[in-house]
């Protein structure tokens, strides 16, 4: 792996451990933002340029802002008392290790049915330009595309219905920030 790949992957893994490890949920959130940006960097290194930019726009730019908003509005303290015991932590990490070995075993096996030359050719052929992805998205995956717009609509309506306060009268003075204390 080249130097760039190594550095960005290291940042990604370190920030992932930071998400799990920090006690303050806001530090976890900022660590996740760094993780998402490093994953975007990995996509760019893999040649998926459109995906890298849309990862920054969607994940790091919109979803994490939502999470940060919720965290700041709820104004939480760090996780209170009752720390998880050392036995349970060690057991969890052990089970995690077993899962890792199980998942990565078949994935990391050498792909013997694809020769090295075909691999090189395939790497060149899969440059994620916007035009190529657009042709696939609006051609072969048109139905899925339309359905995903429906999913987003359901998401928006559901979020508004769930988070709305019941029986609240907003006075004209409260305006856009009505209800937040």
């Amino acid at each position: 792996m080249s130097f760039m790949e190594f550095v960005i992957a290291a940042i990604g893994i370190a920030s992932a451990i930071g998400v799990v490890g920090f006690r303050n949920p806001l530090s976890s959130a900022f660590s996740l933002i760094l993780h998402l940006l490093s994953i975007a960097g990995l996509y760019a290194l893999l040649g998926a340029h459109f995906l890298a930019v849309s990862q920054v726009v969607v994940y790091a730019g919109a979803i994490m802002v939502l999470v940060l908003f919720v965290l700041m509005l709820l104004n939480l303290k760090s996780e209170s008392g009752r720390r998880i015991g050392i036995v349970r932590s060690a057991l969890t990490v052990g089970v995690g290790l077993v899962i890792f070995l199980t998942v990565s075993g078949p994935m990391l096996a050498q792909f013997t049915d694809i020769s090295q030359a075909t691999l090189e050719q395939n790497i060149k052929a899969s440059e994620g330009g916007v035009k190529a992805i657009g042709e696939l998205l609006y051609g072969k995956y048109m139905v899925q595309f339309e359905l995903s717009s429906l999913v987003l609509l359901v998401g928006v309506v559901g979020a508004v219905m769930l988070a709305k306060r019941k029986n609240v009268q907003l006075t004209p003075r409260e305006g856009g920030m009505g209800g937040a204390k």
């Binding site: 792996m1 990604g12 893994i13 992932a16 998400v19 799990v20 949920p25 976890s28 959130a29 993780h35 998402l36 994953i39 990995l42 996509y43 893999l46 998926a48 995906l51 849309s54 969607v58 994940y59 979803i63 939502l66 999470v67 919720v70 965290l71 939480l76 996780e79 209170s80 998880i84 089970v95 995690g96 290790l97 899962i99 890792f100 998942v103 990565s104 994935m107 990391l108 050498q110 050719q121 395939n122 790497i123 052929a125 899969s126 994620g128 190529a132 992805i133 696939l136 998205l137 072969k140 995956y141 899925q144 995903s148 999913v151 928006v156 559901g158 979020a159 769930l162 988070a163 306060r165």
Partner: protein, 100 residues
């Protein structure tokens, strides 16, 4: 191991870290963030596979996963807010009992 396969290894590692976080943390928002991390690990594996096989179907799959994750994050955070209003805490151990 050729360079593309090492991306798959990184994806597995990130998935496992997300899974461990999901088991260890009690704060609902941190749980949500660990789920997002697992989704991202799967996305990385998709992109690596698309590069191995030489077509862009993997990247289109990543696109759809991102869309679903966005919708899920909106609804998940709305659920967390609703739970916070009735229980006044977002630790999962505080909401573990049904109303009698």
């Amino acid at each position: 191991m050729d360079p593309i396969t090492s991306y798959l290894g990184i994806a597995c590692l990130l998935f496992t870290i997300g899974g461990i976080g999901l088991c260890l943390r009690r704060n609902a928002i941190v749980l949500f963030m660990c789920v997002e991390m697992m989704l991202n690990a799967v996305n990385l594996a998709f992109v690596a596979f698309s590069k191995i096989h030489g077509n862009l179907d993997g990247q289109v799959a990543v696109f759809f996963v991102m869309v679903i994750a966005a919708a899920e994050s909106a609804i998940g955070l709305a659920i967390i807010l609703s739970v916070f209003r009735s229980v006044a805490s977002i630790e999962t151990t505080d909401a573990a009992e049904l109303k009698w």
